[in-house]
Symmetry: none
Subunit: 390 residues, 2 copies
Amino acid sequence: MALLLVVIDGLGDLPPSPLEKARTPIMDRLAKEGITGMMAPVGRFRVPGSDVSHLQILGYDPEVYYPGRGPLEALGAGIALKEGDVAFRGNFATLKKGVIVDRRAGRVESKKAKKLAALLPSKIEDVEVIVKHTVEHRLAVVFRGKGLSAHVTETDPHARAPPLKARPTAPNAKKTASVINKFSSLSHKVLSSAPLNRSLSLPANYVLLRGSGVYRKVPSLKERFGLSACCIAGGALYKGVAKFVGMDVLNVKGATGDFNTDVDGKFKKAAAALKKYDLVFVHVKACDSAGHDGDFEKKKKMLERIDRALKHALPYASSIILTGDHSTPVALKRHSGHEVPLLVWGGERVDGVRRFSEQECMRGGLGHLHGRDIMPLVLNLLGKAKKYGS
Amino acid sequence: MALLLVVIDGLGDLPPSPLEKARTPIMDRLAKEGITGMMAPVGRFRVPGSDVSHLQILGYDPEVYYPGRGPLEALGAGIALKEGDVAFRGNFATLKKGVIVDRRAGRVESKKAKKLAALLPSKIEDVEVIVKHTVEHRLAVVFRGKGLSAHVTETDPHARAPPLKARPTAPNAKKTASVINKFSSLSHKVLSSAPLNRSLSLPANYVLLRGSGVYRKVPSLKERFGLSACCIAGGALYKGVAKFVGMDVLNVKGATGDFNTDVDGKFKKAAAALKKYDLVFVHVKACDSAGHDGDFEKKKKMLERIDRALKHALPYASSIILTGDHSTPVALKRHSGHEVPLLVWGGERVDGVRRFSEQECMRGGLGHLHGRDIMPLVLNLLGKAKKYGS
């Protein structure tokens, strides 16, 4: 018995929806042979972030377990966090005359950004600083040392404005705020004088920090539910969530988290993983990005590519759950609180729904689920649920 | 006004389901004239034991009220429990060369088991021991005295292995563990030398204890909801749950809790009871047993027998609720977390569903209910609900 959980980021949409219009013969066959419904990852009409939604879907109530975005990104970037580490998402940005004129330093090339990241300070006073570049302007920044706290404000002004000073929001965070401010000014100094930056019209001469969080180890899926589980994803955040809950992260060359990702490669890897793991979690990001861009055709095409790639993994799964982490309607270009369609194939009942779409799944036999229902569903399908009572 | 609540144990199944395939003209008529839905007794996809599920359906949140299996079985066996009694489910077992070679002593005949049960010690130190034989190898064993606790481990190894010693799991349970261990060795001594056992190839020479629980009286259905209620059941557990919540237990000769039970007799008794009680709870066990045995035909036939027997009670009920306590799919041979179908006839709306089956009820007008919704449903149908607000 092995279950394939496919989360299509930003899947849900409004009519006429890309999913409705896409040619998805495999998903439709699974719908015909299985059961469908709608799922509100964090409660009806609530707008979830991807981090919180994934935690909830994987059985980790974010009210209890959410560590903030920073630690999840840092884990996903490959930093081996230790308990008490304070982690941030970092952006290379362009500072001119005291003002952040571009929050992404013109989306600086990954190759250059990696070199610039190597110049950043690795120690501020007695605090170790671990910086890891991921894609384009994006960084994970971790502070490791005694007496640190995540109760500090971010430095990103989110506007054409001066960068913000980190301020403590709890009495025990004064040292952390001071370390961050020193890191910021020191980084600016080092980056400003870097020869690499001279060739850039929007030099990457500042590091903005946000999404602070302190890392604490949580009980794994194995410890809590007896599940062996792995994750196949492109984006750092999803790998980070997977590591956070104790999944193995399987890397696929060409799994980029963008539209050019190797979807076939991901589902081929899933096929192999289904022979070894109870739960194989595959994440595909690009539909969310297409939603944010308002690009109907791109979202539709990506869904069709996922549909074709599913064939690689089908023969190896005893059950399949196909859903999204939230809606990103192309008409809205942002996350929304509309439910996502959900399909369960194998080990479940059959509800007569014949297509995988928002329109059809809202009539499905599973009705309306909450994100927290997904892990009990997984355990029931795998025969790993503990009986309550006797 | 009188409501008939029929709980078919292990009712739910996977397609093609016995309920779908059974000829059930009366249930189908009730579905046509009533409203349907699906019910998850203890939450979506969670796998319930029968004890916990029945408590929840009867309005007793198991998180608050569940006393453990022992007290429920003891009440059902007819032992008049007192507050503070510590009760267990007991099994006659066969011990050979220090190893439990049969956990059920070859399912020892009831007649012989009853005689052997009479030999068991009735006092250990200052603790009174009350033993009651039920069916075959099954016993209820109650310890009554000062300073007892239910925080002890079971003695059943659930395997071909030496019996376990009871161990205290709380500081106040040392005496209880010691009393249980003395009871175990003394029982073994007495049973080993019983002449009756000499004729058995698998002598009933050991008593295994599990399902410990302490009995505390809880407010009755009458006290909590103003309901007069009775129970018609074969199995001891269900009678025990009924007594626990303050129902009268009506005995029907031939109501055995197995496939040969007198279903007609039970529903004739229900017909009479509906003239006297607000709520008549009828439990039929055999569908669950057929599910555990993986016997599709047996489960289907039992459903057809229940359907025919329903006719006796129909004229006397103003409302009928027909459901299960959990699914026991024949393909799985165990309890599962799939919802159970639910039918409400009389005093409710009509949803256009024309058959009582999983397939149809998932489209039903009541949607997806939790076990905790059933008692408010009962009270609403009986006009006994208290208004919230004014």
